[in-house]
């Protein structure tokens, strides 16, 4: 197993899935010869050619629209929005078209695709290279939303997102792209299922959903504050929709009981407390 940072994990997931399934293709601005502005697709065009790693015109709505057309024809497109901030020109395609295809056709059509986008701040990107739009997308029925914070989660969940029958918004915290490294398994061993939150091992009555890699600092802070295992449970919320928490039978927490950190997602309305069996330890 090799040590990889988060952006390398993304690239490795794309490479493995493209090798596994000839229907998987990548499209977006600068994803080809340049390999993406963050190098997430570096080397893929040289390996798979200009069709399967397609440099699109600088037009996000058509990136999403073309990806949808490919998915409707049984390809498995992975579209890149260069920054999550720039997914808004594609908002109608994502929200009204891609997310609704299955529902509005009464199950006759589906749209299995992934839209990847670097998200969040921390790289001196200022207003339009730092936004975190997961709150928008989490509230769109039909979309799944993933926000990994470790290389292993990024690789495993992106592989799962590409194989998923529903459209997945895959948000990559850009500050963590070149952060901590981790040994990554390869192939099927790397695959992580969507729908399992990553939690601490603490038992608690309150869950505090975190994102953008903030669960560890949150743990530390709350440990210091409480002095002992806290009644608050930080959960790295890699998989925002569908949340494993949603399926918990153990009751709904009221909004005021939830503390959200790192991610602006208003988790509260639909969030449940999580049984230990439904989380993975960080």
């Amino acid at each position: 197993m090799a040590e990889r940072n988060l952006v390398q994990a993304i690239r490795e997931a794309l490479l493995e899935e493209m090798e596994r399934d000839p229907r998987v293709c990548v499209l977006g601005e600068d994803v080809g010869r340049k390999g993406g502005v963050f190098k997430a697709t570096e080397g893929l065009q040289q390996r798979f050619g200009e069709d399967r790693v397609l440099d699109t015109p600088l037009a996000e709505s058509s990136i999403a629209g073309v990806a949808q057309g490919l998915a409707l024809e049984d390809y498995r497109p992975v579209a890149e929005m260069q920054f999550a901030d720039y997914s808004y020109p594609a908002f109608n395609q994502i929200v009204n078209e891609i997310a609704r295809v299955r529902y509005r056709s009464n199950g006759d059509f589906s749209c299995p695709l992934v839209i990847r986008a670097p998200t969040g701040g921390g790289v001196r990107g200022a207003l339009y290279h730092s936004q975190s739009p997961e709150a928008f997308y989490c509230h769109v029925p039909g979309l799944k939303v993933v926000l990994p914070s470790t290389p292993a989660d990024a690789k495993g969940l992106l592989k799962a997102a590409i194989r998923d029958p529903d459209p997945v918004i895959f948000l990559e915290p850009k500050k963590l792209y070149r952060g901590a490294r981790q040994e990554l398994p390869e192939g099927e061993a790397a695959l992580l299922p969507l729908g399992v939150a990553i939690g601490s091992t603490w038992r608690s009555s309150i869950c505090a959903p975190c994102g953008h890699g903030t669960s560890r600092p949150a743990c530390d802070r709350w440990k210091r504050r409480a002095g002992s295992p806290s009644s608050t449970r930080p959960i790295e919320q890699a998989d925002l929709v569908p949340r494993s928490l949603l399926s918990s039978p153990s009751g709904v927490l009221r909004a005021s009981m939830l503390r959200s950190r790192g991610s602006p997602v208003p988790m509260c309305r639909r969030c449940h407390s999580a049984p230990a069996s439904n989380t993975r330890s960080c």
Partner: protein, 328 residues
Amino acid sequence: MPTDDRSLTPERVLDAYRTVLRARALDDRRFVLNRAGKLAFIISPRGHEVAQVAAITALEPGRDRFCLYYRNFAAALACGFTPEELMLSAFARASDPSSGGRQTPGNFGSRRRGVIIGSSTVGPQIPKAAGIGLALKWRGEGGLCFVSFGEGATSQGDFHEGMNFAAIHRCPVIFFCENNHWAISVPQRLQVAGPGVAERAGAYGIPGVRVSGDDFFEVYRVVAQAASRARAGEGPTLIEADVLRLQSHSTDDDQRAYRDADELAAEAARDPIPRMRDALIDRGWLTPEGDRRVGEEVSREVERATEAAEAAPDPDPASLARHVYADG
């Protein structure tokens, strides 16, 4: 694949004419049902029927893909939807094949017929069609994607983005603009500068063709030519069919409030269906007696379709949240 009207046999044209009459008769009935309070909302193809059916007749349902828009009621019939199916959509019944009663009835979809499910926003099907065209190009089996829209949709960014993408990658796509000169109450002069939409094709380096939408044979010819280009790998074509909007935008609109009465009367006198009938009679393919017989058969079809759809069950409220995700 036909490239000109020589392969248009009298039988195919008479079939198309019957489809045109079906569309008109079904639409008239839908309006009556709407005024009787039985149907919520209808968008009429009145004035567009001949152009729509001619275009689809030049293509290959089953092989090609169709990204239709909400005024494509006659095109949907030509793609294989039955009168009863379209009435089920109008009544929003559970067995509506497009959406099970979830959408307004102009959003046609049928996977097995290659009709890609539509939506109500204006223009998003255009870049989608470019993507479908790209997939068909990769597949290399000669299929093409036909995408239609009104002239109002050509003001959308998605029109530009879809045309641009399809032109760059020479996708097998036919962009079919049905220009009826009105986007609800906004006239063409406030939508498009210059003579119309077809000229815009030049900016993308693809052919743009304007055709009279009331001439069945001309519309067939230009669509068949565009199809030949697409199947030969020569890329997309933009076609602008000049049509009349002989009905208000929808059942919730009354165009008499914003259109000149004389103009409406003049347009009504130019209804394309009598023109198609006369052309068929001139060619000796139809007799006035045959025309009357077809009309009566179509009326009976409309009766049967209406009765069957009205008697069909509504969707089960418990199904409201189904199909949001694959596992639901």
